[in-house]
Subunit: 428 residues, 2 copies
């Protein structure tokens, strides 16, 4: 009989409790599939007295996650505390130093300290797995690192924060403004303690940094991501975008360009009838494009006890089966420093503005766009009751630099009544 | 320097040539990712003189795939010939006997001889990988076997024959009948030499048998699949289904029930606004449901040189990285004989019939359904010019047995002018 694979689990919130439940409930199935018994030997959390709906009495208890991480009876340190600094980082480092493999759901830790941790793991001959860190239950890390390993990846993009997608789709379906739906989401407990992690695009940005490193063989570079949250998305833009056949999503896009690595996390328009456009509520979606495979789309629950625990268990089963792979799919020493591209790739843009209701206003705007080299694909002017006319423009592909030049020039005309809204249209 | 992983490729059609191209074009990338050089040492096909758009001159040539499979300078036998019997089977067996690992795209071989081959591979200490056998470029085998290994799978379903999905979506978009679109597809080269493999549901059935074995830990049982092709799907049903908010798909479904394993490949209705309903053309989709992950949906190209070669390369990279796993995710000896369920699980059904245009006709049909215990969710009768009235019924959940009882009883009434069409509505 093979020895058991012994887990030490730090962090017993929703996900931690979910992992404990699966290990207990599916012991026979996990052993049949991996050929190894999977056991929990020790757990750690701040409050031992709290009822977590699962029997923990047979596991050793450690108050200090670092002490858990280095226990002799732990083979795999399962880090489910979260946070890029403090106990999660210290305990992960201690586990690797003590010769343990690590399974984590910690996107911030990997996005910010991934390179150093990968180097540490490799010099110690250990592995770090983190399927649960990106897109919840969707096995996107495995798909990108292993399933599509024969591809030169050309673009990775995704909707990877369920709370933002919930807010945006709820705004549209209920016709409510951002602040109202934000308050609803807060009341439902959908937001992180620091809501800016969600609505500010930080959490999704962490995930994009991880995908980007795997896809392009580059060091994770969270600071190189251009991040814009959803706080300024208005119900007017959602409605007008819908009217033009688009939906607004907080979309992460990573792409190599001749000028460097483009990493953007920002509200974008996508065609309403595309898989991304059709994504409702808290569901996540990742789209991977490669030179051979063309396009693969993965969709699934982005959070929650079961889905996130499923991803953690996938990693644990890999370790039990002896599947071992470099943190970002190739040795850490071979990951490149990819310079962040100074400008993004050209794209069509959606523009919404209010024009003064006087003769020639539209012509002036069109002229300013033309002078900047921005050509117009479609334009709509709506009927109105007040002194300004709402106007929507969809441009042909243009650079953000050319668009900014046109937006600056518009200020000098006397016909643009409000600061125009400009949103990128991602071609999917 | 590590020794190279040496491939022997049998079959140089579209997929074989695609694999050769990637191995040549991406040599550096593949080595960076796997830590091993990947080389082709020998190839085999029927006609050496044919131009395949790729330079084969540096590889040894074998006319006999069995001779290729046992060469000393081959570590991995890559079988891309196809067919469940004959050379593919002989060469695969010979490769395993000679201590080679096998990578194959052969769904028929795995669906029909998978159990015996898995046993042979395991006793020889070798592995068989077959990502390309199911759903083209989508890494569904890896997702199911590894990524979701922590789940008790509850249902697997999918649209896995691109040709059938092309025909069905083209019928709807162009308003054309089955035979017309079938002829178009034939002219476009979309059909197998034996078209019944596609439109008869056989090819998709092979794929379902493989997924089912992994999902439920059962021996692949192609003969246990209830298979119905798309040949009898009419443009009328496609239109009427659309009118009720559904699309017709050739859908494979595998599910465990208390009465055994349910495996069906048949035209089904799915909600038009579901991911499956929105699937157009040759794209494939697989939906996997597990007790922890809830639902994961994978979408991508189901065929073609690049996507299929991408899947083959994924398997080759796994072998180069030392990832080795039992053929169906657990040792062949532990796979169960799952009895095919004698009846499927209850579902709502779509019924279309023409009723004689006389008083009380609808009441008689409703009465017959009620007597069989089939209750009606929705019913529509359309205006008409002739002596019979088209009627559509969507039932509540019922068993196929109860429905058959009602359909039999309808024949004894004098109001049903045509044999009713009955299609299952899969809840997705």
């Amino acid at each position: 009989m093979t020895a058991a694979l012994r887990l030490g689990i730090a962090g017993l919130g929703t996900v931690g409790a979910g992992v404990v439940k699966i290990v207990r409930r599916q012991a026979a199935l996990l052993e049949a599939r991996t050929g190894q018994r999977i056991e929990i030997t020790a757990v750690s959390a701040r409050d031992q007295s709290k009822d977590r709906g699962v029997n923990l009495s047979s596991y050793a208890w450690e108050t200090d996650p670092v002490a858990l991480a280095v226990r002799d009876d732990v083979d795999v340190f399962v880090e489910l505390m979260g946070g890029s600094e403090g106990p999660a980082k210290l305990a992960t480092e201690a586990a690797l130093a003590a010769g343990k493999d690590v399974v984590t759901a910690n996107k911030a830790l990997l996005a910010i300290h991934g390179q150093a941790l990968a180097e540490q793991a490799e010099s110690a001959g250990r592995v770090i797995r983190y399927e649960a860190a990106v897109a919840g239950g969707i096995p996107v890390i495995k798909t990108l690192t292993e399933g599509l390993a024969g591809n030169e990846i050309t673009r990775v993009m995704g909707v990877m924060n369920g709370t933002c997608n919930y807010i945006l789709t709820r705004m549209e379906s209920a016709g409510l403004g951002y602040n109202t739906v934000f308050d609803e989401a807060a009341a439902l407990g959908y937001l992180e303690a620091d809501p800016n992690l969600d609505v500010g695009g930080i959490d999704a940005g962490h995930k994009l940094a991880i995908l980007s490193a795997i896809a392009f063989g580059t060091k994770p570079d969270f600071d190189g991501i251009e991040i814009e949250g959803i706080q300024n998305v208005t119900i007017e833009d959602i409605r007008q975008a819908a009217d033009m056949g688009f939906r607004i999503k907080l979309l992460g896009v990573a792409q190599r360009s001749p000028r460097g690595l483009v990493q953007r996390m920002q509200p974008c328009l996508v065609p309403a009838n595309s898989p991304l456009g059709q994504l409702e509520g808290g569901t996540n979606m990742v789209v991977i494009e490669g030179d051979a495979v063309e396009q693969v789309v993965l969709r699934g629950p982005g959070a929650g006890e079961g889905p996130t625990a499923s991803a953690v268990l996938g990693d644990i089963c890999d370790l039990a089966r002896g599947l071992r792979i470099a943190t970002f799919g190739q040795p850490a020493a071979t990951l490149e420093d990819a310079p962040a591209a100074s400008t993004g790739l050209p794209a069509p843009y959606y523009l919404r503005m209010a024009l003064a209701d006087k003769p020639g206003a539209l012509a002036k705007v069109a002229a300013v766009l033309g002078e900047a080299g921005v050509s117009i694909d479609r334009m709509r002017q709506y009927s109105h009751d007040d002194a300004t006319a709402p106007v929507l423009i969809v441009t042909h592909k243009t650079t953000r630099a050319a668009l900014n030049q046109a937006l600056d020039a518009m200020k000098t005309t006397d016909v643009v009544a409000t600061v125009p809204v400009a949103l990128r249209i991602e071609q999917v």
